[in-house]
């Protein structure tokens, strides 16, 4: 559900770009980046039991 939510956040980013709200789009894009990195970090470390 986390990954699906980030895809929906990307759709929201596209919608804000459609409305021309530049600052909102920039904030949402950075939020997408942070969320995907956190999700990626979880999947990169958790299965191997790594404590980085």
């Amino acid at each position: 559900m986390v990954a699906a939510s980030i895809f929906l956040l990307l759709v929201l980013t596209l919608l804000s770009a459609l409305t021309g709200r530049r600052r909102v789009t920039a904030v949402l894009a950075v939020a997408c980046f942070v969320c995907m990195m956190l999700l990626g970090w979880h999947h990169m470390t958790e299965p191997l039991g790594l404590n980085l």
């Binding site: 980013t13 596209l14 980046f33 990626g40």
Partner: protein, 192 residues
Amino acid sequence: MRGLRRLQFWLLHFYLLGMVGMLLGGFWMQFAYSEMPCPLCVAQRLALSLAAIGPAWVILQCRFGHRDGASMLVRGMAVSMLAAIAGLILGGRHVLLHILPGDVGYGTPVLGLSLYTWVVIACMVILLVAAVTSLFHDRLEPPMVERLNPVSIGSLWLLAIVLLANAATVFAEAGFHLYLPDDPTGYRLFGG
């Protein structure tokens, strides 16, 4: 100069459709070969999707007639660069997981390379394109348009549909669990 800017406008479409094509390729492997995307694969799809948002944002802003068109181009490329960095980290990690001799890798190779290796290559190309575009942003700023042409509208709709389709398939794969399974074999939402 005007021709160069016009060319840049169409190159943004080419860039956007290239990212969408890669995402559709992932779908093709998922449904035609019944290969479920692993969590790292899905994270790489997220990175490619964000990389497509960059040029889509620039194309959409062409309608609003901003005085500083060059800065909007740099903003869009910055989003793509962020996505490419994420894609490189995630794809690089996936490559390292299967790099040892004798490891068959994950999924069917395409043109001799695994999908995650293609993601790494794509992210390197994105970084290069975004950096060069940002360097020459004053010459490459796209022209302002009264309204978007059918190709632009079609490309943006295609991106939106692919994003929603990804959200739906990932939700079907994860079901009502927070995270995807490490080694997915079916769609949890349907009892797989």
